[in-house]
Symmetry: C2
Subunit: 435 residues, 2 copies
């Protein structure tokens, strides 16, 4: 590639700096360029307008959803299948919660005259951050009920958006039900109808990507060059040369963490609606994963029960999904029985190992709760319930960026003079103990 200097006009084929001292950049001929014809759609979740109960929410609400679906081939060995990841960290506050919050806050904006403009949530984590941000952006009042023992750093991540925060002592678990009774404030809790309506769009997007990408689901090497509309076929060479066995029109399974059961219910609702609309060639199995330290729904599933009983939850690294009395627990069981699949538990060790693999093999930094998906898939592969040819979508529900970075062993510092030699050793494959 030819490089050119902005300053003196000199051209060269190598290097990053010009002889004149200034930086080089690539020589680009833009004379024939025109805007690409592949449309940009930034509809996010609002593209499913016909299935949503509100108009789009302005501000950051417009940018919720429409998240990447990534083919993560380097994780296949570890997962035991053909793995795709739905990366919910791309949402405005870094988790899938934004889908539900956007619809909940949009509802409040639309019905302000009748019902006032207060929304609320019972959450000490991602949902609180999400509701606060969506509300701030839309100019809606937001009430956040948090427990006594919320860690101070998490408080900061919520209060930066300036919601009205009330810390409630005593039975925080009871709050989910009590809050729904409070007048004047629309609580958009974990599994309430408007939240579920927004959160079903995760699965809608997954299914649409597989169904409409003419055998080239988003995430393949030419994901960006999808057909311009659902009834025209892309004619690029790259599409024709694709291996057609790598392009199913539906995933074999969708895997998500489960806590309250809100997102899981929403996934079910999406599949039900797509079934009703006759848009699914086949229905993906559903696997919902819990941390074994707090797994009431998985326990009920294993016991073949129809109802979930509350448990005495223990601490887990997957703190976001440690709900010991999930308000939609029974609905999750119903979902899995209708669609097929399972609810399973994974240990903290399995979770942390999977989290590490997500980073090392796929470049994805996910919060521990999200890593339950990969840990669960690995378990299911080992038991044979997922097979190596299966196309499995793991929903990476939230970013790991807010986690305190792990404190690694500090590498030994070397003087600049020794750098060239150290690099030579590295590249030639010699492992030095201090690294």
């Amino acid at each position: 590639m030819t490089l050119v200097c902005y300053h003196c006009g000199n051209e060269t084929e190598t290097g990053a700096r010009c002889a004149c001292g200034e930086p080089l950049w690539l020589k680009t001929d833009a004379s024939e360029f025109s805007w690409p014809t592949v449309a940009r759609s930034k509809a996010g979740l609002w593209r499913y307008g016909d299935l949503l109960p509100t108009e789009p929410l302005p501000g950051v609400g417009l940018t919720a959803g429409g998240t990447p679906l990534i083919r993560t081939e380097r994780v296949d060995d570890y997962a035991g299948c053909r793995l795709w990841v739905k990366d919910e960290s791309a949402n405005p506050t870094g988790t899938f919660k934004d889908r539900g919050s956007a619809v909940g806050v949009a509802r409040a904006l639309e019905t302000t005259e009748d019902e006032g403009d207060w929304v609320g949530t019972v959450s000490h984590g991602n949902m609180a951050m999400s509701m606060s941000a969506m509300s701030a952006s839309a100019g809606v009042n937001c009430l956040v009920l948090v427990p006594d023992d919320i860690p101070a750093e998490r408080l900061g991540h919520i209060t930066q958006y300036d919601p009205k925060l009330v810390q409630v002592g005593g039975e925080y678990g009871k709050l989910y039900y009590d809050s729904l009774e409070l007048p004047d404030v629309r609580f958009v809790n974990s599994d309430t109808p408007y939240r579920v309506a927004g959160q079903k769009t995760t699965a809608l997007e997954i299914c649409e990507a597989f169904a409409t990408a003419h055998g080239d689901p988003a995430g393949s090497p030419f994901a960006g060059f999808e057909a311009e509309s659902s009834d025209s076929v892309s004619t690029s060479e790259s599409v024709e040369s694709r291996d057609s066995t790598d392009s199913p029109t539906a995933p074999d399974a969708i895997v998500a963490p489960v806590s309250s059961g809100g997102h899981a219910s929403a996934i079910w609702k999406a599949l039900r609606e797509l079934r009703e609309a006759n848009l699914l060639d086949s229905v993906p199995r559903l696997y919902f994963v819990q941390a074994s330290a707090c797994d009431p729904i998985a326990q009920a599933f294993r016991a073949d029960a129809d109802e979930v009983r509350p448990v005495q939850g223990e601490e887990t690294v997957a703190y976001s999904i440690a709900n010991s009395d999930p308000p939609s627990g029974n609905r999750v069981l119903a979902a899995v029985r209708d669609i097929g699949g399972a609810v399973l538990s994974v240990s903290d060790d399995e979770i942390l190992d999977a989290k590490q693999q997500f980073a090392r093999r796929a470049g994805l930094c996910v919060e521990p709760a999200s890593a339950t998906t990969l840990a669960g898939i690995r378990q299911l592969s080992k038991s044979g319930e997922i097979s190596p040819d299966d196309y499995v979508v793991a929903i990476a529900t939230g970013t790991g960026f807010r986690e305190q970075g792990a404190m690694p062993t500090a590498p030994q510092s070397i003087p600049l003079a020794d750098l060239a030699e150290r690099v030579r050793s590295l590249v030639s494959g010699v492992q030095r103990a201090n690294m």
Copy 2:
């Protein structure tokens, strides 16, 4: 809206729980639904293939770019203009760096046979995280050179992707130049050609959104429903009812933080290329913002100099852009002189205030370096250089999620029994001291 119980089929107009105890969801008629015709394009930055020097990078590389452009009306008062925000936090590692890293790593993947498969970077922050993640996802070796005094938490955010990390003592600033000389490793530093090629796509996206959205730039209430291609007009009612004065075909100004000058140079390159391609109705002015504690480029601009001199930088909250000897400093001056605009400095207080306003008025959590944009815009509005009618795009270069959450004053805890009364007071507007 009608609600229905999945379990007993009961329908109702209010409430979130059914009398049977199970949660309700919205009743949705999906029988007529079909996939929307507005195309989904997940091309990210790769949609500008004709202007890029590599093929798309598989894995998370595919998801770099294509970030939201948000109309943030509630910030207009504070900013003193009609403000748009380009939200780079939506990138895979949460910053615009991913655009450059994706192209740099793609280059390495394509030329492995000739040049080996090592990439490298000199960075203790966002660039290191970005290169490590992109490399991990693509199976390319990555060498990261960090300084002695890198904070331990930041180290963790980098090492999770398992790059080869070397901590170098002594003159870290010298490393930028020395690293480019190391054989066997392709250093994709701050302003090197392939990084700049990727990073120019931020400005390409901004300009395309304004130019092609037929008067409805992404971010308006119907942003998602853009025309299917650049030469057809959307016929939806919502488009026709828009106020045409709120729909320019180019922004009046683009504002970005500046450190090494790499991103700023890339923005310039984008505008040059669009000018060459005759795709700009008008060319946006460029304002680049620095922290006054370390502002060599701004100083040179104020002195009307052609060259930037290194400074003795002080500490600043905007640590990501504290480059005291920017390798593309002169190129930034050239950009501003060519295009029009300025390089300016803002204080830490102005930065932190702007960061708070981003959160409270727009629901955006940005890192301090990114908040320099809003602080700079406010300054320029006060001086009259930006006018209230101007459409200004602030590039929010990176997420604030990795920042330690601010430790707020702990709100006083109240017992559950007092909750209803507290909420009533809140909603009726009575401010309690303890909240």
